[in-house]
Symmetry: C2
Subunit: 428 residues, 2 copies
């Protein structure tokens, strides 16, 4: 059987911060020096909250000194991807998630929020985007770079940067997960942004990172409890305010925020839309022509990173095609450099055609990869269904499809006349 064409929907790349200088317009160099001098205080803050474990950090950097250069050097990067069996990648900023040594200038990285200084935020974003386009020009067939675009900044600048990014070879747009003190994403002032991204076929994405940290004290558990909610939030602001109704070709994805929360929301939303018990006293939704789960299937997707078995058990409610696996390279919370083992552990009893979707085909369609070109890489590095243990005593992997048949049939139970979800197996 053919090897899997694996696309990691969640990788990270970034220059050691000081090296962004040459990609930054010179008029910002003075502020850049100030920014560099303030980084120690930020490291102390994340250490206090427990997001950085000093002992782990030390060991991590010592053990992976060479490999971590793949965070910004293309040849090393390709070597690491090959090692993981990964053919293609969607590239987010902040290669270093342990000590933020590769953070984007002026806070315009994963933590980018609406309270960013709009001028500096755009300047830092442009610097990263310029560098990222260079990185992607090495082995472009296997890379989709995500442009940083703080869309709460002045509109003309935002639109210009999206267009410039596309022309430079980048393929998607990351927006701040949190608008903070700026207009929420239901506001029609953002329509030109959605229109342009739709026109240019650039998926709009958020990534976990931003959260309401100032409320958490130094309580790591609170941070982790909420860190998946904030990047997901734009989805229901856009969905219920009709963004996906007005821009049917727009794609919106939430990255590295799990997908375990999706089934309950779809259930809740569809029933609300359909007038469930309890909704009688409310007005309806005349501006939406489809059910929320239909918009979700057409417009949304999840960059699910290291999918958990529990999440895979929910895949017929989430929608198999809406789940995009990722290795989170080179972050320690991801599966790199043990991706092959993790895939086997996680996917060993998942039907092969579904595995193909989640590991790469969906990402290929959404982010516009040329799968014929990727196949050449996959043929060289990709694991096969046999490698994932999916064919034991069953060369065609047909038993797996049979095992999951009842679950697939129930699917989204609220739409198939079933009362309960049907997650998981009966322990056979």
């Amino acid at each position: 059987m053919d090897p899997y064409i694996i696309i990691s929907s969640d990788t990270h790349a970034g220059l050691p911060t000081q090296d962004y200088r040459e990609y930054l317009e010179s008029k910002f160099h003075r502020q850049f020096d100030e920014f560099l001098s303030e980084r120690d205080a930020q490291l102390e803050a994340i250490t206090a909250m427990g997001i950085r474990n000093e002992k782990f950090a030390k060991e991590w950097f010592e053990a992976h000194e060479v490999e971590l250069r793949g965070g910004w050097e293309a040849p090393q990067r390709d070597k690491e991807l090959d090692g993981d069996g990964v053919a293609g990648e969607i590239i987010f900023p902040d290669a270093d998630a342990v000590e933020s040594r590769t953070c984007v200038p002026f806070g315009a990285g994963l933590g980018m929020s609406g309270d960013l200084n709009p001028v500096l935020g755009l300047a830092g974003s442009r610097a990263h985007n310029r560098w990222l386009a260079e990185l992607c020009s090495n082995s472009p067939e296997r890379r989709c770079g995500v442009a940083l675009v703080p869309i709460t900044a002045p509109l003309d600048d935002v639109l210009a940067e999206i267009t410039r990014s596309k022309e430079s070879g980048l393929g998607a747009v990351m927006i701040p997960a949190m608008w903070v003190n700026q207009a929420p994403y239901h506001d029609k002032k953002y329509d030109p942004v959605w229109a342009l991204c739709e026109e240019l076929s650039m998926p709009v994405v958020t990534h976990s990172g931003p959260s309401s940290k100032h409320e958490y004290g130094d309580h790591l558990g609170i941070f982790v409890s909420e860190v998946v909610w904030w990047p997901a939030r734009p989805m229901w602001f856009m969905l219920w305010s009709g963004v996906f109704e007005r821009f049917p070709g727009l794609r919106f994805g939430v990255t590295e925020a799990g997908c375990w929360w999706i089934p309950n929301y779809l259930w809740f939303w569809d029933r609300l839309y359909l007038g469930q018990k309890g909704a009688e006293k409310l007005s309806g939704f005349p501006h939406l022509s489809m059910m929320p789960s239909e918009y979700f299937d057409r417009n949304c997707f999840i960059g699910a990173s290291n999918t958990k078995r529990r999440e895979l058990g929910m895949r017929y409610e989430i929608g198999v095609r809406n789940i995009l696996w990722g290795n989170d390279f080179p972050h320690p919370e991801g599966t790199w450099p043990q991706t092959r083992e993790w895939l086997k552990k996680t996917f060993h009893d998942i039907p092969i055609d579904e595995t193909r979707e989640m590991l790469g085909l969906s990402a290929g369609e959404i982010y516009g990869f040329d799968l014929n070109k990727l196949k050449l890489i996959a043929d060289r590095v990709g694991p096969t269904p046999e490698d994932l243990g999916q064919c034991i005593g069953d060369p065609q992997g047909k038993d797996l499809a049979k095992k999951w048949e009842p679950f697939k049939k129930v699917g989204r139970h609220w739409l198939t006349d079933n009362e309960f979800p049907l997650f998981g197996s009966l322990g056979d």
Copy 2:
């Protein structure tokens, strides 16, 4: 078989707003007049968002004119509870959830938030609490009144009002779900509040209602998507900051915010605590001696109101004893006045002992009801397992227990060595 002793963990009572005047200290009468005059604007706002459907409102008040007086008159109230088969009740404010005609002065009702004027907020709360104690003095054996306590107000006043409420016969404390611009609930400044509630055996509760409305425009779907998250949020602030470690006897409940979100959080939290893949780079939790799910079982509960079949399918992950059913009387989104039908529809295949827990026994323990006294009422009004259709061809209801055995055995799969949850039935 004995009838069910049903305790509704979520009912509402409140005076027609103008009638709160005599319960309000006279020095606040001037501000009360201003408050009354501003209510039209608020009604317009909720209508614009679609929370109020004008046509529905008109029909609702016309069709239930007499019954809705049970929102504040004890004899009519008992009649409605009897009709629903409900023996006991936990009473929250705001009887009228359609047009807020019974809202508590100065915003101190379900929508109570940390940005409330602390002086007026406490004054309004005291007015409601005084009146509620009077209501509860009628048939006290079947009522547990929830005192409104804006704990973000000055501490001495807060503690005094909790003590006064307890002495007046109220049995629980509702706190603002949102602290807004005040200290978050991980702050140790609240420890005296938790200590007093623990000492007085008064459960601390939130109730859905508060949300970040100023961000929603007039988009009802956004509001409904988030309205369960905000009241749940204090739970993880308290849990991870060690409130339940320091106050092992404190009980904390989230009311009318569903319970479908619990399983995923417990799964996520326990794995974080236990050092799941991805947590290696983080610090641990040395200040917590138990797993999050253990604190949840000991300290937390869910006033789940009108439980859905999907939620009941998750009950072995949530914990059967942690789910407290409620009819939400007299709100139209609740099951009143069709509770008997709804119970049959929802619980027909749920084991009888579990149904007893969820419909009343857990609430009885947590809120301190005298079940012997309640039994006298239940014997008169309570539906039996036969009435709920739980004994068809199976007089002792044993088949039901057998049906769910494998699900019960898997329970919280991450703690029982199972990979997947096991929700729902195989469609038999």
